[in-house]
């Protein structure tokens, strides 16, 4: 099919009420979930996934993308109004958003957060459209050795930056790889850790693992320490953001958006570091730098542009290479797989119409986010009233139904609970869950490409160094490890000094 054929087909896929409602509904669910402290965008996407099984592929994926985008913006609402980030990505928004709310300018801060989010989201989506196709056409020349080194690089960076400790991140990733070996061997079809149980022959169910890892530990953490249901919500105030203020912050928003796009396109970095980097760059360059941290509107614009700039860009490695850049895109890859689609360079050839439909849907999502986000800001008082003591048992019930719906099998519920307790153990021991899940997803791909490469070379490891692409990824992996060790050591030295200073006092 030609470009115009694909575009026409994509237009037909998106230009219908079902897709439009899925996108709008997804954004609304995401904004509400992001705005509820205790829920997160990740949990919202994970819990929405089972509801997409009965939908058309494009409708289901648009629903999840809507939840993702809505969730990232929604996190800024409680960050500004109750000093509690709805998602980790909104942590930087507190720095200036909450002082503005204390000064009676909550409406202005939330308005700027919405404008910056929508602008950054649009830039991020356009970057995705511009770069994903180019990267996919380049990746068409990849063979098994190139994919093996690419996945190894992605796993290293995800394991390194997901938590406070490189070793614990790597441990999580290695345990994810181990769990991925459960089932029948990819080449010989022999048993691996399946204990002759028919439920384990095909490996562990991906959705049971991800819901177990990301929803159940939150419920257990709440059971361990139930928190109060009431939060101090600030009033919106009478002041609203003006066009002059938006224009003054425009350069900061654009800079923050591109920081988000750049960091989002690298697997593993995520939205929170992008928000903080965008914020610190804005403070460094602003003429009002002394006002940062005390209620500077430019600070809100910078952090929101940074974290929303990531949203579209994380789909670049997902769509072009088939490698999820963070946990949410790892869940979205699950939605692709459930519908029989495999993201990666070949999807741009075999299912180009779906790719173009996603691009169209994403552009529409930026516009919808503007309207739905504005509505959610006004409704926050009601959203914040959802009591956690009712929300958490409700999440448990949603998890049970959602996981059962995958295969109509109670065994998947058992896997989910087991993963939930494992996830809670990891949470209590500062072991990040993101590398575990992403390694679990990429594990079969990593092993398959490794063994294909070995089959091609009759067992010789030289094939893993056959091209400049493999050398590039080996070099990038080594550089990443060196940089992470250096950063980790200096951070620990700083922490140790701070600890000594505290104990001296």
């Amino acid at each position: 099919m030609s470009f115009f054929d694909n575009l026409t087909s994509a237009f037909h896929l998106v230009a219908n009420l079902e897709s439009f409602l899925a996108l709008a509904g997804g954004i609304l669910i995401g904004v509400i979930a992001g705005a509820i402290p205790g829920m997160s965008a990740t949990m919202a996407v994970a819990l929405t996934l089972p509801f997409t099984f009965a939908m058309q592929p494009i409708t289901g994926i648009l629903l999840l993308l809507g939840v993702y985008k809505g969730g990232i913006f929604g996190g800024s609402i409680p960050a500004i109004l109750i000093k509690t980030p709805g998602t980790p990505a909104s942590s930087a928004t507190i720095l200036d958003g909450y002082p503005m709310a204390e000064n009676g300018q909550a409406g202005k801060a939330l308005g700027m957060a919405l404008y910056a989010s929508c602008t950054a989201d649009l830039i991020s989506n356009l970057s995705l459209i511009l770069f994903a196709g180019w990267l996919a056409s380049f990746a068409l020349s990849f063979g098994p050795p190139e994919f093996f080194t690419l996945i190894l690089f992605s796993l290293t960076i995800i394991a390194g930056v997901s938590g406070d400790s490189l070793i614990k991140g790597l441990l999580a990733a290695v345990f994810g790889l181990l769990l991925a070996t459960v089932g029948l061997d990819l080449v010989y079809g022999t048993n691996r850790f399946n204990f002759n149980n028919a439920n384990l022959m095909g490996g562990l169910n991906f959705i049971a693992v991800l819901i177990g890892l990301f929803a159940i530990p939150e419920i257990l953490a709440y059971v361990w320490r139930p928190k109060s249901d009431t939060e101090q919500v600030r009033a919106l105030g009478e002041q609203h953001v003006t066009f002059a203020e938006y224009r003054r912050c425009f350069r900061t928003i654009i800079r923050g958006s591109f920081i988000g796009v750049f960091l989002g396109s690298i697997p593993g970095i995520g939205a929170a570091p992008a928000a903080f980097l965008s914020y610190s760059e804005a403070r460094r360059r602003s003429p009002n730098k002394k006002n940062f941290g005390k209620g500077e509107i430019e600070g809100v614009a910078a952090s929101e542009a940074g974290n929303n700039g990531v949203a579209g860009a994380t789909l670049i490695p997902l769509l072009a290479l088939g490698v999820p850049g963070d946990v949410i895109t790892a869940i979205i890859i699950g939605a692709f797989m459930v519908h029989g689609l495999q993201p990666g360079p070949m999807m741009f050839v075999a299912n180009a119409n779906i790719i173009y439909a996603l691009f169209l849907g994403l552009i529409i999502s930026s516009v919808l986010l503007f309207f739905i986000g504005g509505f959610a800001i006004k409704m926050f008082r009601y959203i914040a009233d959802v009591p956690t003591s009712v929300l958490m048992p409700g999440v448990l019930i949603l998890c049970v139904y959602g996981v059962y719906a995958v295969n109509n099998n109670v065994f998947d519920i058992i896997v989910m609970f087991a993963m939930g307790w494992l996830g809670y153990f990891m949470l209590r021991n500062d072991i990040p869950a993101a590398p575990f899940l992403i390694a679990f997803i990429l594990g079969p791909l990593l092993e398959d490409n490794f063994r294909q490469a070995m089959l091609m070379s009759n067992g010789s490891a030289h094939i893993l160094f056959r091209s400049w692409i493999t050398w590039f990824f080996w070099g990038a992996t080594m550089l990443t490890i060196a940089a992470l060790i250096k950063t980790g050591l200096s951070a620990r030295s700083d922490a140790a000094e701070a600890l000594h200073a505290t104990s001296r006092e």
């Binding site: 691996r192 139930p226 009591p387 003591s389 009712v390 409700g394 139904y401 109509n408 058992i414 307790w421």
Partner: protein, 168 residues
Amino acid sequence: MNQKTNDLGLGAGVIAFGVFLLLYAIPVFVSAPSNVRALVLSPLFWPDIIAWIIIILGVTLIATRVFGPPVVASETTASAALSPEDTPYAIARLAAAAVIMVGLVVAIPVLGMVLSTGIAFALISMIVKTPRPVTALIVAILLPLVLYAFFAHVAGVSVPQGRFITLP
């Protein structure tokens, strides 16, 4: 237990698990055909490599905690810390949650999904001592029914009905 002791225990556990994999779990639970032409192609190769990496990471974790600078607990770990008086109650709540989860899995084929999830909702609300029992009770009845309606009638999932109540 401070962060260093905790991590040392974790490292020791990780090493023990890696050794268990190498010496018992992989030889017993991973089968390989006898005609594999190269070691790297064997179904055993990948699990073996993973087990060795687990052991190396466990040793590295212990070494960094013994010889490296002191570590500080993360915000998540610190926020989970409770006073000595509250800790036994928290442990009891967690144990109760575990029992509810096991009970739920056992109850689904007998009582059906709607009834067992409704009871699980009510029990979880009880153990966290919800300040809004009436809301919790209403949601415990309505939420399973709404989810049943969606999954059974919209998504076409065969939701377990149980032996006592049959829903349309």
